[in-house]
């Protein structure tokens, strides 16, 4: 951690977005995580994505559980809404918040312990309910905050810092999310912002349950030889499926790709993600094939990263439940208390 405050100085030619903000206006307080922690890079990628999308910070709600990863929302988007819940309970709080106010942009930030161990059930239900959110797991294979015990995502055979093999099978959150119906699923690496930032942007724009598993080395407890979540290991085993450019509706990019090498995916707000395929026959729209593909890659010790699956016509919890179109706090009294005649009608319908 750093005791110094980050100076207010900024680059004199710093880039400004449509709202007149620089990326530094998306900062939070200074991180207290270990120097070099992958989580800090993810924070930085989130700030970058929000800056590039010109998102108004006060329209974003960031929610988290417990863990080093779950501490990070303090270190970005200092002007946004935040909720630091109990361990593993972020998905329920996020679901509730989303039910109450559908107009905010929901960002769930969690760890592998928070989501795959204590919060596994919560994670599963938020995904299957299609809560409109971007759910990011900062996956380091350990409980960082409690000093490095193996977490449920730790690979079988991965070594602890003391040299002991993990005996248990790992949970692959990407496969689980696919199975539970997530409509946007990706995996990335904290050390590759070129890949991560566009994924976060696309995930934020996605109108359904979007999930990104970001492998994020724990510099203190899981970056040694024999770990499968270290910088070196991830770099050596990274099987990139695709790289993507996020293209806003206003700014098309003119780069041409050979036939079949690029694929445009239109998003609801009119923006486009342009996928540059690295694996020629990989189809991001085919859930079953995608699951099969990453399963096979995983078996051979490869880590599939990139956009894994996307459903171009996602649905979300509000659509499924037919909830009110407005946030609850924007409903007038007469909408909330419709009067005895309306009540009588409802009661009649239940007889």
């Amino acid at each position: 951690m750093t005791y110094l405050a980050k100076p207010k100085f900024r680059h004199p030619d710093i880039e400004i977005n449509e709202l007149g903000f620089s990326h530094r206006d998306y900062e939070g307080s200074i991180s207290t995580l270990c120097a070099g922690c992958g989580h800090d890079s993810i924070s930085s990628a989130i700030m970058r994505a929000c800056f590039e999308l010109s998102l108004p910070p006060h329209r974003i709600a960031k929610l988290s559980g417990i863990g080093c990863s779950s501490k990070t929302p303090t270190y970005f988007l200092g002007q946004s809404h935040g909720f630091n819940s109990v361990h593993g309970r972020m998905p329920s709080v996020l679901t509730g918040a989303n039910l109450a106010n559908r107009e905010l942009i929901y960002l769930g930030v969690s760890g592998d312990g928070d989501s795959a161990s204590i919060g596994f059930g919560q994670f599963a239900h938020a995904i299957r309910r299609a809560v409109n959110m971007l759910y990011i797991v900062e996956n380091n294979g350990v409980y960082g905050l409690t000093k490095g015990q193996f977490s449920a995502t730790s690979d079988k055979g991965s070594k602890s810092k003391k040299g002991i093999d993990n005996p248990d099978s790992p949970i692959d959150l990407v496969s689980i999310a696919m199975q539970l119906g997530a409509t946007f699923v990706a995996r990335s690496f904290s050390g590759d912002k070129d890949q991560l930032v566009p994924l976060i942007k696309a995930g934020l724009e996605h109108q359904g349950a979007a999930f990104i598993d970001v492998i994020s080395p724990c510099i203190a407890f899981n970056n040694h030889q024999g770990s499968t979540k270290s910088f070196d290991y991830v770099r050596a085993h990274n099987a990139e499926l695709n790289t993507l450019d996020f293209i806003t509706s206003q700014a098309p990019i003119g780069v041409d790709y050979p036939e079949g090498a690029a694929q445009d995916v239109r998003l609801h707000d009119g923006s486009t993600i342009r996928l540059r395929k690295l694996s020629a026959d990989y189809d991001v729209h085919d859930r079953g094939a995608a699951m099969d593909h990453i399963y096979r890659l995983g078996r051979s010790g490869e880590i599939a990263t990139g956009l894994i699956f996307i459903d171009d016509e996602p649905s979300d919890m509000h659509a499924r439940l037919g909830t009110a179109k407005k946030p609850l706090n924007a409903l007038a009294d007469r909408d909330i208390v419709p009067g005895s005649a309306a009540l009588a009608k409802i009661n009649a319908g239940l007889r």
Binding site: P7, F9, E15, A35, S43, S190, F231
Partner: protein, 596 residues
């Protein structure tokens, strides 16, 4: 790109913008830290070693360091480097004890310096401790050159000159007062091993306009008038004064006039206000004393009646630029303007003059009458004669004169030892880690946005009454400390060790100025556009580290780095370290012989 060679002393020297810009390469951040720590004597001595006249320069330097100062690139105003030098000089204690004493053994070589300005005094200071017998001749009664005869006392009191001229001569150089050299050949015949010419640019330019002769009694050449004022020969001037010219002589003339009875003093320049040679702060000081500066007025005639000056007429012009960007002054067509006055001071430039150097003295002059002098060695076409200061390449300033003096002394020393004069000793560079503990550095890296502090001055009504009363009061200790804290410690260098880097991006993420990028290699022009923030300032280097595991390179734009050390604090492996680069120019002496 090639990995940056940080063993080249110039690489980090350039990063210390102020030190690089200083002609004498004073280690600025090093002395500013001493001031912040309350060690004024230490701060003074660091200065004294490099620039010989800290108290004088702390009041008068042209301060090329300040426009270069990094703080000016990240905030409005640079650090008040110059006035901090004065703080060191004002509050030092007992520095005389540290001054070199005459050496016990002499080397038997005799050196003559002609003129006792800053250039000659620097040569004398550098050479006499080494055992040279140095004599300094000047036509004036006291040493100091233009520092004493031109710069008005309200900017530079005699006491400051006396002290520092004394230090320069403390190692036994002998000053021969009131000895004007009339013949170079005669001097050479006296058998000196080497002669240094530091006679300045002593002749003021005149303006030959109609009426010049008739009104001569009230038309004065600026530098002659200023020296008469300095020596107390002139004590008054008319009520209405026109000062012609836009350089520092003009500024001193007008401000002196205000103190000698001039009530309506105007500075009038041919071209634009912005193109004037005087420094912005000199113009400000003049205007603050109620002196208007009128521009785009070309002097046409001196008007007179019954042999007395009544005023001047000026043609009004405007600037026009051709496609090559060259400026031309064209008449606006308006009627000429008459400005009434009682006296005119002509401060339109200075010239060199060497009437005392005989054509057959073996010293070549060019077609402009300037001596042919090597720009690095300061040697003339006659191998035992060296030039420096304003005498070498025309009028500059004190700090350049000092820098020339140091270089000439290196040459003279080499020459007298029979070594190759062209062989220049490299500077000394020391790189030392500043890490003291996990979050502790030996310099104060918590930097904040903070505006430049103003130097307190006397109120005009007091200042204008007495031409010998110093107008600037200098920073007091509190202000001096506050201003010192604005220094960014640009000599605390970010040193990158590629083989330790695990490419975690922590430094990239924390850097407040977006200086650091890990990216694919490319040529410099391409790379400059691909960095976290485009690196448009081509004067500033890109620090390249290669040998990273992913095959990418680390590229750091030195331009607006705050030297805050956050990158090093955040680096988990110590791949970044903050290391102080202490760069000292090599002066004449034994050290340079062994350092090479």
């Amino acid at each position: 790109m090639q990995a940056t060679d940080i063993s080249d002393p110039n690489y980090f020297h350039k990063v210390v913008d102020c030190q690089w810009a200083c002609p004498a390469h004073t280690p600025v951040p090093e002395y500013i830290r001493r001031i912040a720590a309350g060690d004024y004597t230490g701060a003074y001595l660091i200065n004294w070693k490099s620039n010989v006249f800290p108290g004088i320069l702390g009041r008068t330097c042209d301060r090329p360091c300040e426009p270069a100062c990094r703080r000016g690139r990240v905030e409005e105003e640079p650090v008040a480097i110059c006035r901090l030098k004065r703080v060191a000089a004002d509050y030092k204690n007992g520095v005389a004890a540290y001054m070199p004493k005459p050496p016990e053994t002499k080397n038997g070589k005799r050196i003559a310096c002609i003129g006792a300005g800053p250039a000659s005094l620097t040569v004398a200071r550098d050479l006499s401790p080494l055992g040279y017998d140095v004599v300094v001749f000047d036509g004036e009664a006291k040493a100091g050159g233009f520092m004493r005869s031109q710069i008005p006392k309200f900017r530079l009191p005699d006491s400051v000159i006396d002290e520092e001229v004394g230090f320069a001569l403390s190692a036994g150089a002998v000053f021969h007062a009131s000895r004007r050299i009339d013949s170079m050949k005669a001097l050479l015949d006296e058998g000196y091993d080497a002669v240094f010419v530091g006679t300045g640019a002593p002749r003021g330019r005149d303006l030959d306009l109609p009426g010049r002769k008739e009104a001569a009694a009230n038309i004065h050449i600026g530098i002659d008038w200023l020296s008469s004022v300095a020596f107390g020969h002139v004590e008054a001037i008319g009520r209405r004064v026109i000062v012609l010219g836009g350089g520092n002589t003009a500024m001193d003339c007008c401000r002196s006039s205000r103190r000698l009875g001039g009530e309506e003093v105007k500075v009038i320049v041919r071209s634009g206000f912005d193109e004037m040679k005087a420094s912005p702060w000199e113009k400000e000081d003049a205007m603050h004393e109620g002196i208007p500066i009128l521009n785009f007025m070309v002097p046409k005639t001196f008007e007179h009646e019954n042999g007395r000056l009544t005023g001047m007429t000026f043609e009004k012009v405007r600037a026009e630029y051709d496609d090559k960007g060259r400026r031309r002054l064209v008449p606006t067509g308006e009627a000429d303007e008459f400005v009434a006055c009682d006296d005119v001071l002509v401060a339109v430039g200075q010239e060199n003059a060497f009437p005392w150097i005989e054509a057959d003295a073996g010293i070549a002059f060019d077609k402009w009458g300037m001596p042919v002098v090597d720009e690095k060695t300061f040697q003339s076409s006659r191998s035992n004669v060296f030039f420096g200061g304003d005498a070498a390449f025309g009028p500059k300033n004190i700090i350049w004169a000092v820098a020339h003096g140091h270089d000439a002394a290196v040459s003279i020393d080499a020459f007298c030892r029979g070594a190759d004069v062209a062989d220049r000793p490299p500077p000394l560079m020391n790189l030392i880690s500043q890490k003291m503990g996990i979050h502790e550095w030996s310099y104060d890296n918590a930097i904040a946005v903070d505006e430049r502090f103003k130097v307190p001055t006397l109120a005009n009504d007091v200042a204008l009454k007495d031409i010998r009363k110093e107008v600037e009061l200098g920073f007091d200790l509190k202000l001096g400390y506050a201003e010192a804290q604005r220094c960014l410690n640009c000599d605390a260098q970010t040193v990158f060790e590629a083989k330790l880097c695990i490419e975690c991006d922590a430094c990239v993420d924390i850097c407040p100025m977006d200086c650091i990028t890990f990216t694919e290699d490319g040529d410099e022009a391409d790379l400059r556009q691909r960095l976290s923030a485009p690196a448009e300032n081509l004067e500033q280097a890109i620090y390249i580290g290669n040998g990273l595991k992913t095959g990418r390179i680390m590229a750091k734009d030195e331009d607006v780095c705050l030297h805050c050390g956050l990158c090093a604090e955040r680096c988990p492996t110590g791949a970044w370290d903050m290391q102080k680069s202490l760069i000292e120019m090599t002066h004449a002496g034994h050290a340079c012989r062994s350092r090479a």
